[in-house]
Symmetry: C2
Subunit: 414 residues, 2 copies
C-alpha cells in the first residue's frame, strides 16, 4: 500500500471542506428536503430563452474563436463591458485593471495567491464569507476577525487590532469586505462608513478587497441604488481590489466574474491565472458579453430584485408567524440571506441534525467566523426555493426549534 | 502613490509569463502573421453543428441545474463517462478517483498545490510542457530535469538524479511525464519503457503525474492505438495521477478536462478545487457529456487523426523542401508539434525577431527546459493553420534562417 500522507503539501494538510458544500452533499442524498443552505440563485428566473438564442448565434461556426483558447485576462469586449458596467456603479476602472475570472471564487483565490504568504494577516469581518475564508486559508494566511456594528465593520476594533498585530510584527496585507448585503449577515455597510474605510486603508497602509456579488440585488421597498455605492468608487489612493460576478445576475453555470485591481496587482493576477487555468471559458464569456450587449442583463435586474424581495417576504413572514420571540434577525435589504440568531442556549450545530430530521437544512453560523464564534447563528438562504417551499421549510425549522427547546426545558426540569 | 511591491507574496515574485502566451500577444498585434506558436486545435474541425444542437437542447430550461452551481468534483454523468473513456484506454479508474477540472491547466495547478511545498522536487523531462513548469513553479517547487532518449525518458539519468537529490536530503515528490506525442518534442514513450517507469516509481517510492492530452491523436500512417497505452494502465501500486482533456478532441473553449488520482489524492484535489473555483462550468460539462453520450466524440476522432496527419505532412514536406540539411527533426507520430533543431551556432531566441519580421512565429525551445538549456530548439505547432498557410510559414521561416546564417557567415568573415 502506498502511503500518500508523506506526499501531501503542508497546504493540503489544512484544506477543509466548506460547510456550504457539505450541505450540498446532504441535499443530493435527501428526498423532500427544503434547503436553505447553499446561496443558489433561482433557476426559474434565468433568461433561458435569451441564452438559447445567443448560443445559437455563437455556435453557427462563423467565429471559430468562440470555442478556442482565449487571452488569460479574458475576452476583450467583455472586459470593456465590465469597465462600462463598473462606471455605472461610479467606479473609474480601465481595461488594464480588469481580469475576467472563473467565478468570483477564482478571484478570491488569485488575490490570496498574489498577496498572501503563509502567516500574513488578512482581516475579515465577523462573520465573513466562507469562500474567502477557504481561499485565504489555503495559502496559509492568518485570518483575524473584526466585529460588525449596525452600519458595518467596527473601525475602532479595526484600529486596535491592526495596532496589536503590528506590535506583534505581523504583516497585515488587506481587509476583506462584502459591503452590499453581506454573505452571510445580509448587512449593508453605511455610506459614511464606506468613506471612513477608504481613509482607514490609506492611513494604515493596507489594501481593501471588496467583494460585491449582490450589489445589483437591492430590494426596492427598503433600499436605494445609491446605498450600494461600492467602496471602490471612492478609492482615491488605488487601494481597493474590487470583485464582482455575473453568477447572481445571469447564471452561475457560466462561471464568469471579474476583478478590477490596481494595474501592478492586475498584472500579477494575470500571471497567477495563466498557470491556474490558462483562461476562463470562451463560450461562457461570449454568452455573458452578448447578454450584456443586448441589454438582457439590464432588463432583467428589476425582475430579479422583485423576485428575491418576494422571497425575503416569504421567509421573513413565515419566521414571524412561527418563531417570533424565539429567534431574531435583521430583515435583509437585498441579497440572498437571512441571518438568524437562535435563542440563548440553542446551538445551530446541535439544531442541524434535528432540523434535518424535520426536512430542512441551513448552514451553521460558526462556519462564517474566523475566530470560531457564532454558534448561536444560522444562515438561511431564501434565494432558490419557491415561496411555498420557503414557508414549508420555516415551519419545519420552527418544529425543530420547538423540539430542541422543549428538550432543553425538560432536561432542565428533570 | 501606493507601493504594491511590499504587498505581494513571495510566489508573486517568481511568477513568469509563459513563452507561449507571449507569442499569443504578438499574434494578436500582427497582420498576416503565420503562427506556429500556440498549440491551438483547428477551429474548422470542431463539431459546430452538433454543439449547436446540444446547446439548444440544454438551454430549453427543462433542467435548471444546467446553469446552476454544480458539485466540485464535476457533473456525475460526465465523471461516469470519463471512467468509461479511461476503461477504453485500459485504465481501471472509478468514480471516486475522478475530478473534472477547468482545463488540464487547472489539473496541473491542483496537483502542484496538494503535493508540492516550496523546495520540494518535481522531476520533469528535458524538454517538458511549459504549462506544467508554470504550475509547479508557482507553488515554489524545485524542478529538476531528466534527459530524454529515443524511446523516452532516460531511466539511468532518473536513478542517478534521484540518488543525488536524496543524498542532498531533498524531497522528491513526483515525475511529470507526457508519454504520448509530448508537448513540445512530439516524443512517444516506448511501451517497454512505460512498464519500467512504473516499476521505477515503486522502487523509488515516488508518484508519477501522467499528462495525456494527445493520446487520441495518433497518426494512423505510423502509429497504432496500442502504442499510446497510458502508463496508468499498468499502475499496479496506485502511484499514477492521470490527467487528460477534451480540449484537443472537442474544443478548448469548453474548459473541460479531468484528473484520475488515487482516492486520498483525489479527495485533497477536490478540497483544493473547492477554494479555487468552486466547480467547473456546468453548461460546458453538459455539452461535453452529451458529445460523448451521443457518440460525437468517438465518431469525430478518426477525422481529427487524418486532419492533423495531413498538417504534419504539410509541415514536414515544406521543411524538407526548404530547410533540409540545415535543420533536423524527428517526424512526429501524433499530436500537434514538430520539434526542430537549428544548425550549430543558430539560436532560436535570436532567430525569432528575424522570423517575426518575415511574418512567422514559433515558441523558443529553451522555454521548455527547466535547466535553461535547449537554445538550438524551436517548437512549431502545425495544428491550427491550414496546409497552405503552413507552407507559407515554413517558407518564411526558411528565409529567416537563410538571413541569419548568411548574417552569421558574413559577420564571421568580416
Amino acid at each position: 500500500m502506498t502511503n500518500y500522507d508523506k506526499f501531501f503539501s503542508h497546504a493540503a494538510g489544512f484544506m477543509r471542506e466548506s460547510a456550504i458544500r457539505q450541505m450540498g452533499a446532504v441535499l443530493a442524498a435527501a428526498k423532500d428536503m427544503v434547503s436553505f443552505a447553499p446561496g443558489y440563485p433561482a433557476e426559474d428566473v434565468f433568461p433561458w430563452q435569451a441564452f438559447g438564442e445567443i448560443a445559437k448565434g455563437l455556435l453557427g461556426g462563423a467565429d471559430g474563436s468562440v470555442l478556442q483558447y482565449g487571452p488569460t485576462r479574458g475576452y476583450k469586449p467583455l472586459r470593456e463591458a465590465v469597465v462600462e458596467l463598473m462606471r455605472s456603479r461610479a467606479i473609474a476602472s480601465s481595461l488594464e485593471r480588469v481580469v475576467i475570472t472563473t467565478g468570483s471564487q477564482q478571484g478570491l483565490d488569485l488575490v490570496g495567491r498574489v498577496l498572501l504568504d503563509p502567516g500574513d494577516v488578512a482581516l475579515l469581518e465577523l462573520p465573513s464569507y466562507t469562500g474567502a475564508i477557504s481561499a485565504f486559508r489555503n495559502v496559509g494566511a492568518s485570518m483575524v476577525g473584526i466585529r460588525q456594528q449596525a452600519d458595518g465593520i467596527d473601525l475602532d476594533h479595526l484600529d486596535e487590532t491592526v495596532a496589536r498585530l503590528r506590535r506583534e510584527q505581523r504583516r497585515v496585507k488587506f481587509l476583506y469586505l462584502v459591503p452590499n448585503f453581506q454573505n452571510p449577515s445580509g448587512l449593508l455597510i453605511g455610506l459614511e462608513k464606506r468613506q471612513r474605510v477608504v481613509e482607514w486603508a490609506e492611513r494604515q497602509d493596507v489594501l481593501i478587497v471588496e467583494d460585491d456579488p449582490y450589489g445589483d440585488l437591492y430590494f426596492p421597498d427598503v433600499s436605494r441604488v445609491e446605498e450600494t455605492r461600492p467602496i471602490a468608487a471612492d478609492d482615491r489612493h488605488n487601494r481597493v481590489i474590487y470583485l464582482s460576478s455575473f453568477s447572481k445576475t445571469l447564471a452561475p453555470g457560466w462561471r464568469v466574474a471579474w476583478i478590477s485591481a490596481p494595474e501592478p496587482v492586475a498584472a500579477k493576477i494575470e500571471l497567477a491565472k495563466q498557470a491556474e487555468d490558462l483562461c476562463s471559458g470562451g463560450f461562457d464569456q461570449r454568452v455573458v458579453y452578448e447578454a450584456w450587449r443586448q441589454g438582457i442583463l439590464a432588463g432583467h435586474l428589476p425582475d430579479l430584485r422583485a423576485h428575491y424581495q418576494r422571497k425575503r417576504d416569504a421567509m421573513s413572514g413565515a419566521l414571524s408567524r412561527t418563531l417570533a420571540g424565539r429567534v431574531t434577525w435583521d430583515p435583509p435589504r437585498g441579497g440572498f440571506f437571512l441571518w438568524v440568531r437562535l435563542p440563548d442556549g440553542l446551538n445551530a450545530a446541535q439544531l442541524l441534525p434535528v432540523a434535518r430530521a424535520h426536512g430542512v437544512i441551513y448552514v451553521v453560523g460558526s462556519a462564517f467566523f474566523v475566530d470560531g464564534s457564532g454558534p448561536e447563528y444560522m444562515r438561511l438562504s431564501f434565494s432558490a426555493p419557491p415561496p411555498d417551499r420557503i414557508e414549508a421549510g420555516v415551519t419545519r425549522l420552527a418544529a425543530a426549534v420547538s423540539e430542541m427547546t422543549s428538550g432543553v426545558t425538560s432536561s432542565v426540569s428533570r
